[in-house]
Chain length 331, copies 2
């Protein structure tokens, strides 16, 4: 009798740890950046191409979640798709620095284990999000930077590319335009600083994860680092509350610890996800005139995708079959 | 009559903006790191030298606060004194990286203006806290890193030193010892990772500020960045709640957004400063076996200096004449 109980308990234990037998619902939310995105600037054929790429990212993550995989795997997979597209300001499509190079940042967090990894200022890693994941899994550190992060990536088999891989005509023109405006006005215009990508997910086991990847701000200088690789600013995940990925004027997202703040409001004030995200994006930040948005999912699978710009590339998919992909504010 | 009123209003306005006529109380709190600090490891003559240096830092900041200067000026001045001393793991006394170099991080935040500046991974700046201040005051960015931060510092007249300035026999021996232990155990021992310095202050005008500076973790690799230059993790200041500077196992202070969390607890849960800081240091972090501490001051001048290690170099001084300087846990 005792043996049977032991076998049963071992079986139950296996089931609880195995994604294959996971029974809960799943949700995946992604963004490709908030910013000056209105219908005049995005012709219909480009709109379709954006929608197709967002759907491809959702497909990649959903396949993992549907099979009982972890939210961590799902957000990494979704972000990789967007990193490989020149359409978004991350990976392949990263914007140019003041000096005409590309410096990429990314971070990832697991809300179940409260582990996190991030890299900043790398120039030759094709998928920064996957190296951030390796920092989380294989190093005692959370944030590695610059040449050190690249050395770590190389030692752990990352896909290393020549920096010329990140050259993109459109982005280069953006830099020239930004430099011209800076000459005129003396400061960086925040209109072009969007395009960061991110994903948050709840898996069938009830675990939350978040991931963010970016090329930063066009014409950034002095090895500037924004909010995307900062746990608590660009990315946060905590199983009892929510997972968040931000996009916008990074300096303000750092100063207001935006991603962490959503979780803190839920846990300390007891508010719902939507109230927490709105109070930041449509409250604090809007009042300051700060542009941006975020995506978030809570432990019950509720989705929030607020932004105070004219548009945000965004979408979500759920185990109940609901899928939404949107670009403009009036969608 | 109207003219007299105008003159009076202008005078009142001037008074309200002038530190000289500021009427409130002030408080300055500093730390020189939490860690394995017990009486056996710190002989009496070294204890006296530490106390003298902490008092010197308090003197520098207090002179500014007493004269009606800003909390921002005060925390920068106090941190500079500790950066210039080889006693602490910041500036002159920065620990060594795995490769035998020194990489310094610092951040500063103004709770009145909600502005912040930070630098990470610099190798030739004598007082990183003052460059962090310049990033805050003179750049559109919050966080600059590595060679870019150094170029920015140089352009803005920072005190640049040869990297050999940071060589210190004692710190170098610490690195050798750490490397030996890493060979044996395969991981970095957290016992030696302490020594970060920081300061928080409330000035007579009721403005809060926080500053943190560090050499990071002995034998850190891959351009690792810890919590000290991360706004929300190592440093936070917000006028309606508190100012915080952290010290400890940085990776965890990032993942739990420690400095921001104190402010969030006060604002969202309505708890007092001491309850907020204790719930992190003696709650969340202690439960995880994570070593560290923090200093904090709230908008009413209340001071909190919790740590879960055997000691923390710490002290505070107040406009009512109270001054405390302590090292050990049983002080």
């Amino acid at each position: 009798m005792k043996k049977k109980l032991t076998v049963f308990l071992m079986f139950a234990w296996l089931v609880s740890f195995s994604g294959l037998f996971a029974q809960g619902n799943y949700t995946l939310v992604i963004h490709g950046g908030a910013g000056n995105v209105d219908r005049e600037r995005v012709p219909e054929d480009r709109e379709e191409a954006f929608n197709a790429k967002l759907n491809e990212a959702l497909d990649a993550g959903e396949a993992i979640l549907e099979a009982g995989g972890s939210s961590l795997e799902a957000v990494e997979a979704a972000v990789r798709i967007m990193e490989d597209s020149p359409k978004f300001n991350a990976g392949k499509g990263a914007v140019f620095t003041h000096e005409g190079g590309n410096e990429l940042d990314a971070s990832i967090m697991c809300g179940q284990q409260m582990t996190a990894g991030a890299i900043a200022g790398v120039t030759n890693i094709r998928n920064p999000i996957s190296t951030a994941r390796k920092v989380m899994d294989l190093s005692p550190h959370v944030l590695l930077t610059a040449r050190g992060a690249e050395a770590f990536a190389m030692e752990h088999g990352a896909d290393i590319v020549d920096p010329s891989y990140f050259f993109d005509e459109y982005r280069y023109d953006q830099l020239q335009e930004q430099l011209r405006r800076m000459d005129e006005t003396g400061y960086i215009d925040s209109a072009d600083m969007m395009g960061t990508v991110g994903a948050v997910a709840l898996d069938k086991n009830g675990n939350l994860a978040a991931a963010t990847s970016t090329g930063g701000m066009t014409a950034k200088r002095y090895n500037r680092v924004g909010d995307s690789p900062i746990i608590g600013a660009g990315t946060y995940a905590e199983n009892s509350s929510c997972a968040v990925s931000s996009t916008g004027h990074g300096e303000y997202f750092i100063k207001y610890a935006v991603a962490y703040d959503v979780s803190a409001q839920m846990r300390y004030k007891g508010v719902e996800l939507e109230e927490a995200t709105n109070s930041i994006i449509h409250g604090t930040l809007r009042d300051l005139g700060v542009n941006g948005g975020l995506i978030a999912v809570d432990k019950d699978g509720n989705v929030s995708m607020p932004f105070n710009t004219s548009g945000m590339f965004r979408g979500y998919t759920r185990s109940d079959g609901e899928r939404v992909v949107r670009i403009f504010g009036d969608d």
